[in-house]
Symmetry: C3
Subunit: 130 residues, 3 copies
């Protein structure tokens, strides 16, 4: 079962990083033409999502919305990053994309994004093809 | 690897469409009796979720809640549909359901829903069985 | 395809239950060393998520945030548990984790949690290895 890991380095507290090319690179290297690719985030203050990549404003807007959606409460976790943990559970820890003819079958506007919610940090992303 | 696509036509701005029968049709046609079915949404202002299908009020309530949860901000994306993009990332782009004896192993009250957040539109849904 | 089910008994209205050991038990019993494990929740007022397990305050904070995020509206569903249905769609019905050398490949701080949103109840969780 082909699998791999790649690094993602984030430079801001909250940020989307388009990782589509890195995932496709793994798919291409695997020589699998037909299958399902699972991408996994092993961090608890980050996530993965699939959304529009054409207009970068969409990423900005989603991050702005998430900051409004997750309330500032008197959280108990002493590290001060509870909102980032909440966002991680809202967007989720993995995405699944189909592979056809060796290519990720994303929709016209879709890209795969690593979602940093507590950066900047050095992160990693794992993928595996079924 | 059995796979397919089907169309979903939506008639309102925000709407849940029960696609369980269409997914089961694909499973039945595949003649796979034991496996995992992944359902994928290739659109960036729509999503997929699994929730209660018995009382249609649940769908109405989830949509009403999502409209309240996602704030009306001065979004930068000029198409005016940023809330739909946010909802897409909140519910997610795929669902995974087990297959046993050729049937989707949903819970008693569960149905698979296509979630339209920026309709009405002609949409498509992809599925694949592992 | 190795698969199984285990019970989760919840004692509060809203609660996270760490089910990592039960999932790992299934993986170990399967003798699969390399693969992908999908964990599935068949209930419509509960969910599954992966988040920090080291500090239990993170679980408390996520639940407190979810209660603030999901509004108290005049919901139509007469059972009074619409917020729990909304939370189920926000966190999602399944999680996917890789298996290497027979072990779930979770990140350092990650644990798999069953999320009860309408307890206390007797629940079940299904898993399957690809």
């Amino acid at each position: 079962m082909p699998a791999g890991t790649f690094a993602v380095s984030t430079s801001r507290t909250m940020q989307f990083s388009d990782i589509t090319a890195q995932v496709q690179k793994g798919v291409t290297a695997s020589t699998i033409v037909d299958g399902v690719c699972v991408v996994y985030n092993p961090h608890t203050t980050a996530g993965l999502t699939i959304n529009e990549g054409a207009d970068p404003d969409v990423q900005t807007d989603i991050l702005a919305a998430l900051q409004k959606i997750v309330p500032q409460l008197p959280y108990q976790h002493q590290e001060g990053n509870s909102p980032a943990h909440v966002m991680a559970s809202l967007v989720g820890s993995s995405v699944t994309v189909f592979i056809e003819n060796g290519r990720l079958q994303l929709g016209t506007w879709q890209k795969i994004f690593f979602c940093e919610f507590d950066g900047p940090r050095s992160r990693k992303v794992m993928w595996r093809i079924v």
